[in-house]
């Protein structure tokens, strides 16, 4: 079933892509092919292959339990918050929190998670910023 849904989603994607391609405004100065042709060819490949996936589905993938799925969703949310807060909170604090969260969810105890989070963050800061001179996000305190 999942494969059929996947195929149908792919077909919808292909149709959306076709519409977006047809909506491209052509410039008055164009080559013989124009900006639409290649996207349309790709859309055709995308659509056909999705249709085949939907019509001849593979074996069902092995989906994780709901608990595991929420785990991944939560990690995604944490990463998105991390990406947003990075310029605001500064590299060291944001990274320590995010790394501690991931370590905790992968099975560390709370104390170990905090220690690993802080260690990862400070370690990366030291190696990448202090030694290698990479510019990292600067928060209110300059790190």
């Amino acid at each position: 079933m999942s494969n059929r849904i996947f195929g149908v989603v792919g077909m919808i994607l292909a149709f959306g892509y076709v519409f977006a391609a047809l909506a491209i405004e052509e410039s008055f100065l164009s080559d013989a092919v124009g900006p639409k042709a290649f996207p349309l060819i790709i859309a055709a490949v995308l659509g056909i292959s999705s249709a085949i996936i939907a019509l001849r589905p593979d074996a069902e993938p092995d989906w994780p339990s709901l608990g595991r799925l929420t785990e991944i969703a939560a990690a995604v949310v944490v990463m998105l918050i991390y990406a947003k807060l990075l310029p605001v909170a500064g590299f060291v604090l944001a990274t320590a929190c995010a790394a501690a969260y991931l370590t905790w969810r992968l099975g560390s105890g709370p104390a170990e998670a905090v220690a690993v989070g802080a260690g990862t963050s400070v370690g990366i800061y030291a190696v990448f910023h202090l030694i290698l001179g990479l510019s990292l996000a600067r928060g209110p305190w300059g790190f």
């Binding site: 290649f38 993938p61 995604v76 990366i124």
Partner: protein, 511 residues
């Protein structure tokens, strides 16, 4: 001898303190990444690319660093295969078959050093193969016009689809998805924005580095979260015993190593095949050829040497089409292509005439890296076995954070980080569906030049689309492409069933 003088020039470039140090660092990091389950050559190289940029390295030094990582990962993959029966990366999965039984018999040290020697022979011969074959390929490639290049790109996608997935439709889907992503941004020929939906960030197109790091490295983190594999290896398994194999064992394996090096190299040169196929066919061939007493699979040293020589040779072979034609033969070489493109170097025939220093410096560095790796992987292999003690609950967050740091270091924008997370989720979902990720990467990398070549070819011929199949060269390429796509449909199922048998979920990124 032109070749020898080129090579001598290359050594002159590679033998500076900076480059030697970078090669050493690359070899070390590569072996570590290869050894750790979950970090293969492609994501290892991917997360190090930003590092190479921010260090402000030039083209040759960055390539030396990253190809050393690549070769190193090929060596390192065997360590956890032999000691833990878990392949450190996908090409190393065949090494489990005889390596782990050897370790169980108490021959872990011998297995490690023998496979180190096999790796060295495979990589060493393949580097010679690269030197001899690449310039010949360049001569052919100089005859290519835009139509032939378009056919060549199509060939790369179609043969890649043939071997990298059990389902051709899914690899076609992946290729189309990657090419589609590449069309986002301002059209290079007419200057009109395409698929940007008014988002200014998208006008430049998606940065393929963001896509690569997201698809490879972040999706791996999600896989670990899903399985909650936070643990560490069983300490008792990490005992090595004697480190050097008896001479007789090496001698007995020598014909096997030479044969499989050759075979692996060929497998690597074929677009789309890569190191995993190289080790697989090497093992199968040797099993058929020399396994008279049915000892393969029970700890036969030849069964250990075959896949190791094969996968390292394939790693060298995969560099041939990447450098000579600009069409990578595997996932990791696709990532290396991304490095070149980001450095504004277009691989292909012109690379050899315009930037010979890059090519020959790289080749010389490969030789140097090989000797360094031999030294690291036999007397010093104990260091790397200790790396296996790092539990992944500590390792994976570091991987995630280094990925974020790298991408942020390049672009300094939160938007790119969000896109990367999006790619990470996409990579996770696609891996669940067994959709290969390498065609997506290849699509985002080659999409623009594929389209440009198509449009150039048709425009030169006044809008005549038949020009694409007009020359014998183009027709040959199309014929190979079609055979490469159809043949696996007929005979591939059996081969791939065998390859998948030993595949674990965590090493599932194919090289």
């Amino acid at each position: 001898m032109e070749l020898m003088s080129n090579l001598a020039d290359g050594f002159a470039i590679a033998l500076t303190w900076q480059n030697l140090l970078l090669a050493l660092l690359g070899c070390f990091l590569g072996t570590v990444m290869g050894a750790l389950p979950g970090l293969g050559p492609s994501n290892g190289v991917a997360i190090l690319i930003p590092l190479a940029f921010t260090l402000g390295l030039g083209a040759t030094p960055s390539l030396i660093l990253l190809t050393s990582v690549y070769y190193g990962a090929m060596y390192g993959g065997r360590i956890s295969s032999i000691l833990l029966n878990i392949p450190g990366d996908e090409p190393a999965m065949m090494t489990c078959l005889d390596g782990y039984p050897m370790a169980q018999k108490g021959l872990a040290g011998e297995a490690l050093s023998l496979s180190g020697i096999a790796s060295f022979i495979g990589a060493f011969l393949a580097t010679w193969g690269l030197i001899l074959l690449a310039p010949q390929l360049v001569k052919i490639a100089l005859l290519f016009g835009p139509a032939e290049y378009f056919a060549l790109f199509a060939l790369a996608f179609m043969t890649l689809g043939g071997v990298s997935s059990t389902n051709q439709a899914k690899s076609a889907f992946a290729a189309a998805l990657g090419l589609g992503l590449a069309t986002i941004g301002v059209d290079t020929q007419t200057g009109v924005p395409r698929f940007t939906f008014g988002e200014v960030h998208l006008y430049d197109g998606l940065d393929f580095l963001v896509a690569i790091v997201g698809l490879f490295a972040l999706s791996e983190v999600f896989i670990f979260l899903e399985n909650r594999h936070g643990g560490t290896a069983d300490k008792s398994k990490l005992r090595l015993g004697r480190l050097y194999p008896p001479m007789s064992m090496v001698k007995a394996c020598m014909p096997t190593m030479l044969r499989t090096s050759f075979l692996g190299f060929l497998a690597g040169v074929l677009p789309g095949a890569g190191a995993s196929l190289g080790s697989f066919i090497s093992y199968s061939m040797e099993k058929r050829l020399v396994d008279k007493e049915k000892t393969f699979g029970t700890g036969d040293p030849r069964g250990l040497a075959a896949p190791e020589a094969g996968n390292n040779a394939a790693a060298g072979g995969a560099l041939v089409p990447m450098l000579a034609l600009g069409v990578p033969g595997s996932g990791t070489t696709a990532v290396l292509l991304a490095v070149l493109l980001s450095l504004n170097i277009t691989p292909g025939p012109l690379l050899f005439t315009q930037n010979p220093d890059v090519v020959w410096g790289l080749i010389a560095a490969l030789f140097i890296a090989n000797f360094m790796l031999l030294a690291m992987n036999i007397p010093m292999v104990g260091i790397f076995t200790r790396v296996l003690m790092i539990p992944s609950r500590i390792l994976m967050p570091i991987v995630a954070m280094v990925s974020f740091v790298g991408i942020y270091g390049i672009s300094g924008s939160s938007f790119d980080l969000m896109v990367m997370i999006g790619f990470g989720v996409m990579g996770w979902v696609l891996r669940k569906f067994d959709v290969p990720l390498v065609p997506i990467i290849l699509g985002t990398l080659l999409g623009n030049s594929m389209e440009n070549n198509l449009r150039r070819a048709v425009t030169i011929d006044n809008g005549n689309w038949w020009t694409l199949v007009d020359t014998p060269l183009a027709m040959t390429l199309w014929a190979i492409a079609i055979i490469g796509f159809v043949l696996p449909l007929l005979i591939g199922a059996r081969v791939k069933a065998g390859m998948r048998l030993k595949k674990d979920q965590e090493g599932a990124i194919s090289d």
